[in-house]
Symmetry: C2
Subunit: 252 residues, 2 copies
């Protein structure tokens, strides 16, 4: 028996999120199906981040156990030919038997992408949130520092959360603009349900002037979902990467 | 009666190209339908570039005549709400009654986009050609100069062409790389059927060493489709813009 880790990229547009459910196709379900068919045994992956419907990933992580003799490194190629074209394994390798991708401390990086111009661009529609009103990037940048460090992020958490605590640590949060594309990139030790999308929605409000950057500390302190901005749409969000500080050797 | 010009962007993935045909949905057909519904008269656009199935555009051009009193500038907004989300008009404005987008001399810019890495990225699949073998960009760049200027491009033209002459002028051709993305950008006074995709296919062969940059002049001189490389897939190609030197006022 060996435990294998997969680094998985996907376009979440056509999926009901990561986690297997009764109605609708999921990333996890497609991986289980492709793995079981490839390895001729019933495989159930354990995912690191159970992304929502419509959210994308460049580097989500999943592990599974197998008796197969196929070298772990070869599995990425073999799996991709059995997966739909909107899911692609980027890497596969063996990890320690006890490794659990959600119970091991990790640093996640997300990117929220906004197309900010007068008219939509069809080629950007699947992985950007289109926003017509001009956004002031300098103001959005000025709103970032109060988010850094350890805070109770209850204001930035969907009321549907099941989390035991709403305290999280954000290591970095920055906003950059290139042409018509504004990118919000955030790194932290874990995120609450919808937290990145609510941060993005709040920064967008700052960008068009509905909220002043100076209001962010009070919004955080309120510990009230009503105090923050709206949840920005799923299509703009991508899980960029997961890093395990206790395991600097992967992803390679 | 007035003649109106549209600048149109689209993701060509789900279309049988620009031109109306009996079987399958086309960009031209969708524009005619949306315009006729908006303006309450039968509208038939004249397109500038009849792009192939699967080819994208950021700035194709179409004109049509209408009796409608709606100001031409307002039409872009009104049309977009009646078009599918993979077609978006970027601008609409009045032009001289006699203006014909194919009979007026113009300069077209195309971009061919290649994703060059070990594994596909789902988010790039609709507008890039995935190529696994490493491409030598310096060699691809070295192959560009012989294409510049006026040549008989018969070697770079599909045998299905109906063009009267295969002589064309290329104003610029360059290859750039950013991360895993290689872009081939070409500007000229018109292109033969599949010409940009055959140039891209030939440059890819140069990139992985099947063709030497020094062979390009002989490939051009052969005036034989067999001498050039394969036709690269449609999904990597985007019509970036059209410029009318006699009408420097548009697109605005």
């Amino acid at each position: 028996m060996k435990r294998v880790m997969l680094i998985v990229a996907y376009d979440g547009t056509n999926y009901c999120g990561w986690q297997v459910q009764n109605n609708g196709t999921t990333i996890e379900g497609e991986l289980n199906k492709a793995l079981s068919s490839l390895l001729k045994e019933e495989i159930t992956v354990i995912g690191a981040s159970r992304t929502d419907s419509g959210v994308h990933a460049l580097g989500n992580v999943a592990v599974f156990d197998t008796e197969a003799r196929m070298p772990a490194e070869k599995m990425a190629y073999a799996l991709n030919s059995r997966l739909p074209e909107d899911i692609r394994v980027q890497q596969s390798f063996r990890v320690a038997d006890g490794f659990h991708p959600r119970k091991t401390s990790c640093i996640k990086t997300y990117e929220y992408r906004i197309l900010n111009r007068e008219f939509e661009l069809p080629g950007e529609r699947l992985n950007s949130h289109f926003f017509r009103k001009e956004l002031d990037v300098a103001k959005m940048q000025a709103a970032c520092p109060p988010f850094l460090g350890e805070h109770d992020f209850k204001s930035f958490c969907s009321i549907h959360t099941q989390a035991e605590t709403t305290i999280r640590t954000i290591h970095s949060l920055n906003v950059t603009k290139e042409g018509d594309i504004i990118r919000i990139r955030v790194t932290g030790n874990g995120f609450l349900y919808n937290m990145v999308r609510i941060i993005a929605g709040t920064l967008i409000q700052v960008g068009f002037g509905a909220t002043d950057p100076s209001e962010i500390p009070a919004i955080l302190a309120a510990c009230d979902r009503q105090a923050a901005g709206p949840t920005a749409p799923a299509r703009g969000l991508t899980l960029v990467k997961m890093e395990y500080p206790e395991h600097p050797e992967f992803p390679a």
